[in-house]
Subunit: 278 residues, 2 copies
């Protein structure tokens, strides 16, 4: 595995590896790699000749009062994990390499970026779109891998790829969970052991919601039940909704539905989701 920190170096490392038309699979991450990320890298490894992983904690997708400064960073552990999982090129740019002081052009996710996560985190998805557009132009991958854990991010990126005509395949890998159901997240590291035990409420609420839905409960009832289940365990819900997995508009009763929840546990904000395909 080669580790590079500049765009120019990444491009010059990539060019000869592409010779003969070899495909490039790309996994953009913010580091603090866990099994969820590693499942993406393994999927990339089976998909293409060249696997590029980026680690960049993107300031543009954090709000002013969010956890950019404290976001977990573990460069040595990340390097080891990326290498063991089959990464060819690890791209670890500094902030100035991605955003020189005069940088101003941004990509806006549109209305999909302003609901749910986007409503709680104004500007978040514009920041995601901007950095992913940049990384797509820097890496020029044939295919890129994202986790279903961040379901709205997946929808936003699929939409950006379609709307801006990026020639990049978007592959989505299932959420990886702890034995008790908690979705893996770099932010789980923030939880005290007491909070950690209550964090299972997110997935439990989603499963209750799914069961009710499959029992033909109406959408309002299901959303209310999920919210209550989070609140009963002492979490502060941001939302508990049933949406269309592509548009994040309120779901109709049939077809593909996505249950999404977000809640605060102490100072930590966690999200989870469950897709129902019939």
């Amino acid at each position: 595995m080669k580790v590079v920190s500049s765009i120019a170096e990444l491009r010059s490392e990539l060019a000869p590896r592409r010779d003969g038309g070899h495909a490039v699979a790309f996994v953009p991450t913010m580091g603090a790699l866990h099994e969820g990320h590693l499942s993406l890298i393994r999927a990339a490894r089976t998909a293409a000749h060249i696997v590029v992983v980026s680690i960049f904690v993107n300031p543009l997708q954090f709000g002013a009062n969010e956890d950019f400064d404290s976001y977990p960073r573990d460069e040595q552990g990340d390097r080891r994990a990326a290498e063991e999982t089959g990464t060819d090129l690890l791209f670890v740019p500094q902030v100035e390499e991605i955003y020189p002081p005069a940088a101003a052009t941004t990509v806006s996710a549109g209305s999909l970026g302003t609901v749910l996560e986007g409503e709680d985190r104004p500007g978040h998805f514009d920041g995601v779109c901007t950095v992913v557009a940049k990384l797509f132009n820097i890496v020029a991958p044939d295919v890129a891998f994202f986790g279903q854990k961040d379901a709205q991010q997946v929808a936003v990126i699929r939409k950006m790829v379609a709307d801006l005509n990026f020639q990049v395949g978007v592959e989505v890998c299932p959420t990886v969970r702890e034995a008790d159901g908690l979705a893996l997240s770099s932010r789980n590291r923030y939880l005290s052991s007491e909070e950690r035990s209550r964090a299972t409420a997110l997935y439990e609420a989603l499963r209750s919601g799914r069961d009710l839905l499959l029992d033909d409960a109406d959408l309002d009832t299901v959303e209310k039940k999920m919210w209550e289940q989070l609140a009963e365990r002492g979490l502060q819900p941001s939302y508990a909704r049933i949406v269309d997995p592509d548009t994040f508009a309120p779901s109709r009763k049939d077809g593909r539905r996505l249950l999404v929840v977000a809640a605060r546990l102490g100072s930590t904000r966690l999200i989870d989701n469950l897709l129902i395909e019939e």
Copy 2:
């Protein structure tokens, strides 16, 4: 010359032509081609093996009260002119091909897009960035050609290419003028013959401004003089400024300076500019 109207067809026509690493030069236009456009196509012809020209009147860069509906269209004349000038592929998409009904993702030019032209035409440069980003992703050119006539557009696109890491060279060709100095523009077709004779005031104001500057007049005096010269000929100036040609911030006295003017002549809005490099 092959004429295509769908993105898929354009890509499938382009792929085999690229074989062996042939470069692609791209000239995005809004049609109503004049000698200014043709100079771009000729420059593209000498720069690369494959020349792609697009004709697309981009609704996103027109304001609600602007001339999108009446913007001159001349498909037959444009085809003939593009072919005679050496175009290989002419891309003439319908609006729905570029903006399907649900399209939402946009590219924002940032602060450079909100001054001067951007102040008079809110959203204009975001519309320009969005369509050019899309066309760059559709055509994947090695180099793209733009006219100095639209100087702020040039600055915005250079900035977008740098900020979003597009791997596209940006080449800028000089403004083509009529014998009396009027910069060629598709919008000149709107002018009555009486307005046409007064339209030379833009270039005359720029030349007066340049002469004063080279005579060491201060910036305020020069800007005031250009404004007055436009007004004296019965034009309604929008701005008459001296700016940095990259940032469009107010210019300092030395180095590269760009004189920019915009004015209304009846219902037609015209722009022009003059670069001073010392």
